[in-house]
Symmetry: C2
Subunit: 680 residues, 2 copies
């Protein structure tokens, strides 16, 4: 008595016997193999492509004969003719089992495919989006068995996809009848499944098979910069990344000045809410154009932001966040329709997910950093510093995670810096100063050459050299210190003291000239004494926050440091440490993670499981409040010098020479700097 043929799937290793004639897609479904299909096996969507293997497989104990699958059929031939099918590929819904066979499911045919992230240490994202496309055939109406078109669509979703409890809003009801008739009772719906349990919602509907995909936005809504990734919800790949300045800057550079604006001006919170929502609409339109998609195909948006931005986005007056006990209106994650946030540029039924906040000063952005960097899973003690106008700082390991935020101000994002600008083509992002000649060389965004490379002038002509972005100013100040342009207290020496005419007088202090474009009508780019002071204030706040968490954890050193920053800013670990932004640590243990908050938003966009995970994790993070902690002030005041006033930074000093110079009349410069910092 012969047995049914054996079907073995790789890479899962799942196997089972099926009667000859069973489609591979059917076998996969019965075994729970992760094989995608939008059209449900009708040979339309081509998502279920599989790759059969032939020959001897001693490992699996089978021999696969040439005729193990049914012959290439008309549907496959037509698909290959019209769209092209890769060599060796079959459509899983068309090819049927005829004998023992080994079937590979390529990663692009898996629903829960892995998205590999850039950073080597980062875990891949397993695709598990809240919204997916489903193709369905609906019964035609029958006057004698009256039922609504929606009710018959529901019935079809239940019968063909086992999806129950489906709801639809008015915009969908408006489109439903024309779509069904135009598609000859075949439609594709975008189904939002949520995090499970609450039923599904139809976000959009198209006649026939919808082949233009659906997309999501992951938005890191910072105080200074709004950064977004546009992702394909089927495979998580980023079509475009874009950013713009937060227009709320005109109401106040930092968060507390925006809270003050809301307190002092009736309706001020509404003004700020309108401004940020308008900006997000602009950003969504721009990024959709950049990604070459219709913005109405954006059906999901994930936001991460600090608590003040969180409230201003939601239209909640942030006044309570300006005073102890810093009570949030709500700290939970939120799922709401995009129209509730006036996000009219995207799909009218789009859903928004906002990550949970950790506390009144530690927001959804910190939660997103935790989701991206996962300090809670770390074996060693990791310090994660997300540099922005408000820095989010996490310290912990798998046993315990602490979090705080620190009001660094916008200097690290290039704002409040005389030649500062946001990260955009033309901005200086890398800089080196020769310690002998004190001459600088630099690179700008959008050009691969250094400024002293032959051909730089031509290569950079399109944008010119326009200013310094956040990562550029960090490198500039650190390089100035390493080259002896700056003394440990932060004073810039005069041309005579330093030995270069680039140290120009500026009022009673000096400025260091990086680039003079004035001959061509461009800007003169300098780092002024005021810029140095702004950076000193910012880095002291950052360091003090990290130090406070170390105190709370009862440690003097950390095993490793992860630097993360706003969109586009790639902070150099060495320069960050020379500045004293972070505690002393071996340089090879300091890594840059890019925009961790933005990555966290993207992970939550692609994965419902990640949403559930971070909702759990935030409940376990212990929050430290910097605003009322006297030791924070003490650390802040003591951290003004470069790299630091109190800590010797022995690890750093052993690898980076730091000149012992002093440009103050009698060390008074340092004192002056300290007094100014106190007022700050």
């Amino acid at each position: 008595m012969s047995q049914d043929p054996l079907v073995i799937f790789t890479p899962s290793g799942k196997r089972g016997r099926f009667p000859a004639g069973t489609p591979i897609l059917t076998a996969a479904r019965k075994l729970g193999v992760d094989l995608d299909s939008v059209c449900g096996g009708r040979g339309i969507c081509s998502k279920c492509q599989i790759a059969p293997s032939y020959g001897d497989f001693p490992k699996h104990g089978v021999t696969v004969r040439e005729d193990a699958l049914s012959e290439w059929n008309a549907v496959e031939a037509r698909y290959d003719r019209v769209r092209g099918l890769k060599t060796g590929r079959r459509l899983g819904c068309q090819a049927t089992v005829q004998g023992d066979v080994v079937i590979d499911v390529p990663s692009e045919s898996q629903v829960h495919r892995q998205v590999v992230r850039k950073a080597a240490s980062a875990r891949p994202i397993i695709m598990d989006p809240a919204t997916r496309l489903v193709f369905v055939e609906v019964d035609e109406p029958d006057m004698h068995e009256p039922s609504g078109d929606l009710e018959r669509l529901r019935k079809a979703l239940s019968a063909q996809w086992q999806i129950e409890d489906v709801s639809a809003g008015l915009p969908i009801l408006k489109k439903l009848q024309p779509a069904l008739r135009k598609g000859k009772w075949q439609v594709t719906v975008a189904l939002y499944m949520g995090q499970g349990g609450e039923g599904s919602r139809i976000l959009d509907i198209w006649p026939g098979l919808h082949e233009s995909g659906i997309y999501g936005l992951a938005i890191d809504l910072g105080s200074t910069t709004i950064a977004a990734h546009l992702c394909d919800l089927s495979d998580g790949h980023v079509l475009a990344s874009s950013g713009l300045m937060n227009p709320q800057i005109r109401f106040g550079e930092d968060l507390m000045s925006r809270v003050s604006y809301a307190m002092m001006n009736p309706g001020g919170d509404v003004e700020m809410t309108t401004a940020v929502r308008d900006a997000i609409n602009t950003l969504a339109s721009e990024i959709a154009e950049e990604g070459g998609i219709d913005p109405r195909l954006i059906v999901e948006t994930v936001f991460v932001c600090n608590p003040v931005m969180h409230h201003l986005l939601l239209g909640i007056d942030p006044v309570e966040l300006g005073q102890a006990p810093f009570a949030l209106a709500t700290s939970s994650s939120m799922t709401l329709p995009a129209v509730a946030l006036d996000l009219t540029a995207i799909n009218p039924e789009a859903q928004v997910y906002i990550l949970p906040c950790i506390a009144g000063h530690v927001g959804a952005d910190a939660a997103a950093v935790a989701l991206s960097e996962e300090p809670n899973l770390s074996e060693d003690l990791v310090l994660v510093v997300d540099v922005g106008t408000n820095a989010e700082i996490l310290l912990g390991n798998k046993h315990k995670v602490l979090a705080c935020s620190s009001p660094t101000g916008p200097a690290f994002e290039g704002a409040q810096i005389s030649s500062g600008q946001r990260a955009a083509p033309g901005a200086i992002e890398r800089i080196e100063i020769n310690p002998e000649t004190k001459e600088p060389r630099f690179r700008i965004i959008g050009c691969d050459l250094w400024s002293d490379d032959p051909g730089f002038a031509e290569a950079s002509a399109a944008t010119g050299v326009t200013g310094i972005c956040g990562s550029g100013i960090i490198e500039a100040v650190a390089e100035m210190r390493m080259a002896g342009v700056l003394d440990p207290s932060g004073l810039i020496g005069s041309a005579e003291q330093v030995g270069t005419p680039r140290c120009e007088p500026e009022g009673r202090t000096h400025a260091y000239l990086i680039h003079d474009g004035s001959a061509d009508g461009g800007p003169r780019i300098t780092v002024t004494q005021g810029d140095i002071r702004a950076i000193q204030l910012a880095k002291s706040a950052l360091y003090a926050g990290a130090r406070l968490l170390m105190d709370e954890m009862g440690v003097d050193t950390v095993d490793r440091v992860t630097l993360a920053g706003a969109f586009g800013a790639h902070i150099s670990p060495k320069h960050a440490m020379v500045l004293g932004m972070i505690p002393d640590a071996p340089l090879d243990k300091v890594t840059s993670a890019g925009n961790a908050a933005g990555h966290g938003a993207r992970i939550a966009l692609c994965s419902r499981a990640a949403r559930s995970r971070i909702e759990q994790v935030v409940g376990q993070i212990h929050k430290v409040e910097t605003a009322v902690e006297p030791k924070f002030q003490e650390h802040f005041v003591n951290a003004s010098a470069i790299p630091n006033s109190v800590e010797p930074f022995p690890i750093l000093s052993s690898v980076v020479p730091l000149p012992d110079v002093n440009y103050g009349a009698s060390g008074g410069g340092g004192e002056g700097g300290r007094r100014r910092r106190r007022r700050g």
Copy 2:
């Protein structure tokens, strides 16, 4: 060993023993006795008033001593001083058990109190509204245990009311923090519970105890008239009833002409949707003012309407309802936020419930009539006729219910009638014509006197006599027939033929003068031959629909007839039968139910159980499609005479004399009428 005191509640009869000192409210809750409380036993809301009885109760086997309850306490004394407590009443949360006691829960202290309806046959509504008020004390925020205000409110609702899974929209999050602080961490929330299972949603929040109540609108959205009841959601009582003309009339008098308008004019459906939504906002504002409440206290709205109005309200193009197979976009009941329908005049978080539709031509209004009149529970065979521009007709008993709709046109609502108007002060609603003198007497809405009573001129001076409303025109035509002004074919006789100068020539036909107000600058009110034809068309359609259902049921007679009509129209059973609107039946078996669709809407507003019930029942109603049924045309054509061409109406004839007159040249008038009907 002494037992704990026995507490017996009436009228429920529930009883139990409780330790001395137990508050009566606590005892009631433990026993599941229906005793209201908004404040949760804090002595604030006074909803838990109870009436203890003293003396011997052999029936219950107890003797209640004077000291069976604790003494009147300071909270009760203060409440009595400030608000007044009825004699014999105590506050259930303050009075504690001291000995055996019999406690009566008066109906106004019951959550699920009964609301008695006007019609003698109607079952009372058991209050079970989807939204209720809950008073709650919330923990203050603690910086060291950070949580959002919403999260602490949720915790309090769980601990104090066992209500879990509470959500809140952005308008609530915006109000939450100020309300909590103003109320010193005590707030009242309006909680929408839905039909169960889906969690609760906060619709509004007020500092401290909210004492102004919450309200709902029950709206019967007819083709010609929009009628609304404003109900108190705590006890179901109607604060105000109001109506206005459907502004869509300018796009088409009847439903099919509105569907045509949408088909012929791009954007025509949107115009009509905007018009009806604007009208509902106007109506909501007016009815709130009439009821003396803030319209933002309206937190729920229930709609009943025919399928075309249903789609136009929802913003769905009704084009599919204009052609077979008459497919609805959706037939299920709907729950959606009022803002989705642009209902901005009421609470911004208000919820809308729309009853399910039965089929493409038999809508949520028919479902509401079924909910109000409950033919599905009837022992005998009942015909329910809801008279409107589109008539809803139900025939059935507890074994089977059939339904259809019939396009009667707006004549029964006073439209397309030369002197017609909607039911409003000044409109003739009752009329009698003396069969000897052919002189009429009438009554107008807003005046209790008949027109020939002394003092009528003065009593009616405020409005004057302005026109004839729907019930008035029915009585006028029937009275004209009974007085011999009209022959069976529907022709009005000349002055000579009838014997009164009130029969005036009008073109080639005649009109009957009811009232001449021209001397005082008022209108001349006549019934023209055209009016008669309009009423004949309408009543033939109505009769044909009823007759079709009787064919389908296989019966020639019905046991009883319930006449229902649009807001304010009280149709006289006798006159309806003389007209031949309904099949012949004993007059005492024909009753008027007022606005049954509106009543159904009110029932659904007050009771979640009723919503679930009608959702079940509509699935069991068998729908008959008049539009494609040849027998409907046949019945329609044959029903043109008054009372009828085919049926002898023996029961009617035995009690109402109908003169045997003939005003046609050779019976041609009747034929002409028949041809015109065919074109209609």
